[in-house]
């Protein structure tokens, strides 16, 4: 027995990607954000990315704290503005792989305008949206993703606003890659991230994730495990589904999968083409020597 007890704990397989000196993290037991971070670390390893060139930009909120725990150049910006910060970072240094990692309230609520415009421009950003249907950090208020009839701290009698269907919003705004999974689908999440890393342009991955402290509890949906059971029993994998038809209802079926995977020139491709065509040799291009002092 004692030999078993004395055995050293196995090393955390994704430790090299984390700022261990910042642990413990702030996330609640049963929260899915940590699961997505684990998937992210595995995807980064699988894609063999140069970690020095990999950036994580977050906004504000529970998922907004991801940037602070990743052992990468990481930026914790203002509420809703991770995408325009990331846009500046990417356009000023196209060699960087820029990931925007934030929550539904941050990216789609307060930051919705930036989201649709970055997708329209097809800025080469890897957007990961952890959707827990709620504003978690502030105590569980209604969000633009809250399903109709769900209870939140500001909809005590049930939500009556129609939520955004995020894959449909992303596709219609111009995203070149759109997928949705849940934190039950850890392999699929990591695989989707690898695919997004390998794709040029604005990619969007929605990850449905439990908030046991606020969303689950207030709606009597059980704990984190209860959410896993719901995801397992109600998810239907439908690759290539019409995104118009993948909206989410309260505890209803969840359509998951890869919905969009198309080719479209990025903002920088189009800018360089247009300027080179119009200015010929006079176009200098965005060179390291000039842009980055």
């Amino acid at each position: 027995m004692s030999s078993v007890i004395n055995m050293p704990a196995p090393p955390n397989p994704v430790e090299e990607f984390l700022r261990s000196d910042r642990m413990p993290h702030i996330w609640c037991p049963g929260c899915g954000i940590g699961t997505t971070v684990n998937c992210f670390a595995r995807a980064v390893r699988q894609a063999k990315l140069d970690l020095d060139k990999l950036m994580v930009v977050s906004g504000i909120g529970c998922t907004g704290r991801v940037a602070g725990y990743m052992n990468l150049d990481s930026f914790h910006t203002t509420h809703g503005r991770a995408i325009p910060f990331a846009t500046g970072l990417k356009l000023a240094n196209p060699e960087l792989t820029v990931v925007v990692y934030s929550g539904d309230g941050d990216l789609i609520g307060i930051g919705g305008n930036h989201f649709i415009h970055a997708a329209r421009r097809n800025v080469d950003l890897k957007v990961i949206c952890v959707n827990n249907f709620i504003y978690g950090m502030t105590g569980g208020q209604v969000a633009p993703t809250t399903p109709v009839s769900a209870l939140t701290s500001t909809t005590r009698y049930g939500c009556y606003e129609e939520p955004f269907n995020l894959p449909y919003l992303a596709e219609s705004s111009g995203a070149v890659y759109v997928a949705r999974w849940t934190t039950f689908h850890v392999r699929q999440v990591a695989h989707a991230m690898v695919e997004a890393f390998r794709k040029k342009g604005f990619t969007f991955i929605e990850i449905l994730s439990p908030c046991p402290t606020l969303y689950q509890r207030r709606n009597r949906l059980g704990d984190g495990l209860g959410a896993m059971e719901y995801y397992r029993d109600n998810s239907e994998i439908r690759h290539g589904a019409n995104t118009k038809e993948v909206g989410i209802t309260f505890q209803g079926p969840l359509v998951v999968g890869k919905f969009v995977d198309i080719e479209r020139p990025t903002y920088l491709d189009l800018m360089n083409q247009q300027l080179a065509r119009t200015l010929d040799a006079k176009y200098v291009g965005c060179t390291e020597e000039h842009v980055r002092s």
């Binding site: 950036m55 325009p84 000023a92 415009h117 300027l275 200015l279 176009y283």
Partner: protein, 396 residues
């Protein structure tokens, strides 16, 4: 270091202040601008957007001013010098990111070509009513630097100074133009690149294992790194420690906020800059900035013609305010006259520094056009005889 010649349009030009500002940004080495169109600032980015592809950089038009004012921060961390340009309503939207830049010590320049306010106000006409907003507009305690040009030539020169000060102190620097200066066309001389001094970014020489992003140097300014070079920095708008990690404690707050403020306050003597006309023997000191300083100079000349010892003190750097100089002058001048295109903003600073030693008279103008020199002259004349009956609502 000297300016990169690719951005310097050396020669004598006939430019408006907006265009001169755009040229100043290029000469300063700025190769990234993000903006959202707003009158009367648009000519700055129009000029920049036309010229920057020829010098190796880019302009991106964002979806709003919130986006513009943070896209430039991403660009700065990628290694670019960057700016954005706006006017009152857009400046209000940018306040959140003035705070972020102050907190994360991100060097950048925001140009505000002031128009009449509040709200949509007078889109095509001048105002100077954003002076206090420039200093205090974002929440929390912080310091910025603000410069106020009064000619197209200065729109060029002070834009370069703004970038240099931003790099020197790692603060957002605000160029407080106004519609008159922005749309006034005059001779602008752009010197050869080797005569333009540029402050390079204060990059660290330390290896990653010895580097802390917010460990300050002797002047309280920390050294910077560029994203993508293996330093694995964390930058946050939360109160943070010297590692850059969030630290939600009383101690971290005391240490960080004091330093953010003190790095400007303690270096104020090096930053403050005034232009003075006939101050040596001045009985009445007119304090005016931006376009109003040109009208005020005429009023001072008219007063001198009438035998009144008037002088002009013009803060070129508006923030930090030239406190020391006003305190000195308050001991020997009889009064201060402060004309400004608002209902009393910088006059409060003059009055604070005069501290009752010399009365301070506001000559307000709500904006839309500049003062008449006669209005300022009248305020000077009213001060001729002590106790001459300056109306109570004017004598502050």
């Amino acid at each position: 270091m000297k300016a990169d010649p690719s951005g310097v349009l050396t020669g004598t030009h006939f430019l408006d202040g907006d265009q001169a500002c755009g040229e100043g940004a290029l000469a300063a080495g700025c190769r990234f601008a993000a903006g959202y169109p707003i009158t009367p600032s648009t000519e700055i980015v129009e000029r920049f957007a036309e010229r920057v592809p020829l010098t190796g950089g880019l302009f991106v038009q964002m979806e709003d001013e919130l986006a513009s004012s943070i896209a430039i921060q991403g660009a700065v961390w990628a290694g670019a010098k960057a700016f954005t340009v706006t006017s009152g309503p857009g400046f209000s939207l940018m306040m959140e990111h003035v705070g972020l830049a102050a907190m994360t010590e991100t060097p950048l320049v925001i140009v505000n070509v002031q128009r009449g306010g509040p709200s949509t106000g007078l889109p095509t006409l001048p105002g100077q009513a954003d002076v206090m907003q420039a200093r205090w507009g974002s929440h929390g305690d912080y310091e910025i630097i603000a410069l106020s040009p009064n000619s197209p030539q200065e729109c060029f020169d002070l834009t370069i100074d703004a970038f240099n000060l931003a790099e020197q102190y790692r603060v957002p620097v605000i160029l407080l133009m106004d519609e008159c200066v922005g749309h006034m066309t005059e001779k602008v001389v752009i010197p050869p690149a080797d005569q333009i001094e540029i402050v390079p970014r204060r990059y660290t020489q330390r290896p990653p294992e010895e580097y802390q992003p917010y460990h300050p140097g002797p002047d309280l300014v920390p050294e910077m790194v560029k994203a993508g070079e293996g330093y694995r920095i964390h930058i946050t708008g939360l109160t943070h420690d010297e590692h850059g990690y969030p630290a939600i404690t009383v101690e971290a707050q005391q240490k960080l906020v004091r330093r953010l403020v003190d790095k400007i306050r303690r270096n104020a003597d090096a930053i403050v800059r005034c232009e003075e006309h006939q101050i040596e023997d001045a009985d009445v000191v007119v304090v005016a900035y931006g376009i109003t300083s040109r009208v005020a100079l005429r009023a001072v000349q008219m007063a001198r013609e009438q035998g009144i010892a008037a002088g002009l003190l013009r803060p070129v750097v508006v923030w930090p305010f030239p406190e020391k100089r006003i305190r000195e002058l308050a001991t020997r001048a009889r009064a201060f006259v402060v004309p400004e295109m608002n209902y009393g903003q910088l006059v409060l600073e003059v009055e604070r520094c005069a501290a009752g030693r010399a009365p301070t008279v506001l000559v307000p103008h709500m904006g839309g056009t500049v003062h008449h020199p006669e209005e300022i002259l009248q305020a000077i004349l009213d001060l001729r005889v002590p106790d001459s009956g300056v109306p109570a609502d004017v004598a502050r």
